[in-house]
């Protein structure tokens, strides 16, 4: 069973980030991103660990983790596919993109494929409306989606 703990270099990075802010609490969101990258997702154990790094009550870290959408509170797939379904993407056919992904992946929005490969999400405006319909795959934006392009992108996700 792995204990949740940053290795020394990452701990040093935490302290460096904390020092950038007049109140070190300002580094909480960046450090939670770090923790998600290091531990895969933000479990309650991770929340308690991070709370300790900031001398905050775990309840207040939990508030932050549940408020923002980018912190995963359950294990996520190796890849996260977030399809924008806001106004311009809706006009450009976001529903069709989502239907295609649901069919190809065999899961509903919000779920992860059984093999742990992909988590499928529907999200609000990613601000790439001029290249709608679009989605975010991990860190990058995939724009001007067509059915063929969507299939190609899926194939490239291992």
């Amino acid at each position: 069973m792995r204990t949740v703990q940053f290795p020394p270099e990452q701990l040093a990075e935490v302290r460096r980030l904390q020092a950038l802010y007049p109140d070190r609490r300002g580094a909480l969101l960046p450090v939670l991103h770090m923790a998600q990258d290091a531990f895969g997702w933000v479990s309650l154990e991770v929340e308690e660990y991070v709370a300790g790094l900031f001398d905050l009550s775990p309840a207040h870290v939990h508030e932050v983790v549940t408020f923002y959408t980018l912190y995963f509170r359950q294990p996520k797939g190796r890849h996260v596919v977030s399809v924008c379904h806001n106004l311009s993407c809706h006009l450009a056919g976001a529903k069709t993109v989502l239907d295609q992904l649901r069919t190809r992946l065999g899961i509903e929005v919000g779920e992860t494929t059984p093999d742990g490969r992909v988590t499928l999400l529907a999200v609000e405006c990613l601000c790439a409306c001029e290249r709608a319909p679009m989605m975010q795959v991990d860190d990058r934006y995939e724009l001007d989606l067509t059915p063929e392009k969507v299939d190609r992108i899926l194939e490239g996700l291992r």
Binding site: L44, E47, S57, P58, A59, T66
Partner: protein, 531 residues
């Protein structure tokens, strides 16, 4: 000091006063939820809107500071419409739990809806559902659907207890009050969140489903749980004895006192009323001969006690008073001692477990009137009294309230002292191992069953008042002692506590100038240097 006009009335308030407090001074109560004078400003509920001249839109009063020349209107049509709108917003997802909710009758959604709402409800869609009946800790129950998210409880745990257990999780209409999963709301003041919760989201587990609040009477009193003397209200159920298994005291609530406890009380004090209606209550005088215990009349008991005191030499009597006794009781005892020249008297009995204290309200001394007893000159050496009893120098032990066998002394030693004494007299409200050894038991009224005063750790003399009739034949201790005095040949003193206090104030320099009217509801400092 800014001068401003509220609803046409001109007032002057200290700089920095918000408009809710300023309006109160003008006799105007602005409806609000999230504002609390003991907590930071949240500005979330949006109910306290008022119209301020020269501002285009209604403004929240809690976050508006009184300014010179400000003109405020709290009952314009626009303000009334805004309140009605805000009430509707609050009730959109609120569950119709009134029939099963403890808050009914003291619920601020109910109260403000009747005052400021009264609209035709039009929300017919499915309401948002959240967890219900979730125990947060030993004392507090959460119903997240009922919560109006005013954040008072969160701010209390952050700002007053500084324990930070509560937060508002998620966002939008899925926002929810909650703990960190797996943790508890177990700080020592946890139930204060029940008081400040305007609705039935946070309720008292002890009070849950016991009795409807409109059957309760309220009496001003003082918590006897420690030397802090937090001001309280005693809520009693006298009209529905079939509820709550006949428990007469339904609950205690803190009462505001700017100089003692402000709005708060610790959990131990809040729930410390169990002894009042406990089976162990002493209801009649009794006499023990050998193993046989039988009820006696007050006449018999008082005659026996006076007889013993009169028969013995003064130094053959040892009196162990209690720091739970009222100032009036202690002064009456002093009169009895003076009458017979008895000098062996004390009140300090060490507890088996040392009391804990904190940096807020809780004091290590778990009695309400140790300072009063000391100021009244009764601070002798109790251990010496017991030693004298063991040595058969003391032949009569008169014990008030204590269970000496459960105290911080060697039990066997105490036992020997009790056995050695020819006569043991016990006066108290509840039976205990010591009272069972007494030859004469005089039942005393519990603190809620009579009035009196206690002197808290800071020397503040505070009144507690009578909420209930004494059980059975129990009498206030000052009354018992007055009757003993009468039996000893001193002119009878009227049994009213206030009379005793007047005599006390005249006789004891520390209490000079104090009276029941001057003590009032907020208490009054004694002159401690003059003890």
């Amino acid at each position: 000091m800014p001068k401003l006009t509220i609803d046409g009335k001109e007032i002057e308030v200290p700089a920095g006063t918000n408009l809710i407090e300023a309006a109160r001074q003008a006799g105007v109560e602005i409806p609000h939820y999230c504002y609390h004078p003991g907590l930071s400003i949240a500005g979330q509920c949006r109910l306290c809107m008022v119209d301020i001249e020269k501002t285009p839109r209604p403004t929240i009063a809690c976050n508006a500071q009184a300014a010179d020349g400000m003109v405020v209107w709290t009952e314009t049509d626009r303000v009334k419409e805004t309140r009605r709108s805000v009430m509707e917003f609050h009730l959109i997802n609120h569950p119709l739990d009134c029939p099963v909710c403890d808050q009914a009758g003291e619920c601020w959604l109910q109260i403000y809806y009747m005052r400021h709402g009264l609209y035709e409800p039009r929300m017919t869609d499915e309401k948002v559902h959240k967890p219900k009946a979730v125990p947060l800790g030993p004392h507090v129950m959460l119903d997240a659907e009922r919560c109006i998210l005013c954040s008072r409880c969160v701010r209390f745990c952050d700002e007053i207890t500084r324990t930070g257990e509560l937060g508002i999780m998620n966002r939008g209409d899925h926002s929810e009050i909650g703990l960190f999963p797996g943790r508890e709301l177990a700080n020592r003041y946890s139930a204060n969140v029940v008081d400040i919760c305007p609705v039935g989201a946070l309720t008292d587990r002890d009070f849950r489903f016991q009795v409807r609040v409109w059957y309760l009477d309220s009496t001003k009193s003082i918590c006897p749980g420690c030397a802090r003397g937090c001001n309280i209200e005693v809520h009693t159920n006298r009209r529905r004895p079939h509820h709550a298994e006949g428990r007469r005291v339904a609950r205690l609530k803190p009462r505001y006192n700017a100089d003692v406890n402000r709005w708060w009380i610790c959990d131990a004090g809040r729930y410390g009323y169990g002894a009042v209606d406990d089976k162990s209550r002493l209801r009649a005088p009794s006499r023990r001969e050998g193993e046989a215990v039988a009820d006696a009349t007050w006449e018999e008991a008082l005659a026996a006690v006076a007889g013993t005191l009169g028969r013995l030499e003064p130094d053959e009597v040892g009196v162990i008073a209690s720091p739970r006794m009222a100032n009036e009781d202690l002064f009456a005892l002093r009169r009895v001692l003076e009458r017979r020249g008895i000098r062996r008297v004390g009140f300090r009995v060490p507890p088996r477990e040392p009391g804990d204290e904190d940096a807020f309200l809780i004091r290590a001394d778990k009695s309400p009137n140790a300072l009063g007893a000391a100021l009244l000159g009764l601070d002798g050496d109790v251990a010496a009294v017991l030693a004298a009893a063991r040595a058969r120098q003391v032949k009569c032990l008169w014990i008030f309230d204590h269970d000496l066998l459960a105290a911080g002394w060697d039990e066997a030693e105490v036992d020997r002292a009790l056995r050695a004494a020819e006569t043991v007299i016990f006066t108290g409200a509840n039976a205990n191992a010591t009272s069972e050894r007494a030859h004469w038991v005089l039942p005393a009224a519990a603190w809620v069953e009579r009035e009196g005063t206690w002197t808290n750790c800071e020397g503040r003399v505070q009144r507690f008042r009578q909420a209930l009739e004494p059980l059975g034949q129990a009498l206030p201790t000052s009354d018992i002692l007055g009757r003993v005095l009468a039996a000893l040949g001193v002119a009878a003193v009227p049994p009213r506590a206030e009379r005793w206090f007047r005599d006390l104030a005249a006789a004891v320099p520390a209490f000079a100038g104090l009276s029941y009217p001057s003590i009032g509801d907020a208490g009054q400092p004694a002159a401690r240097g003059a003890a």
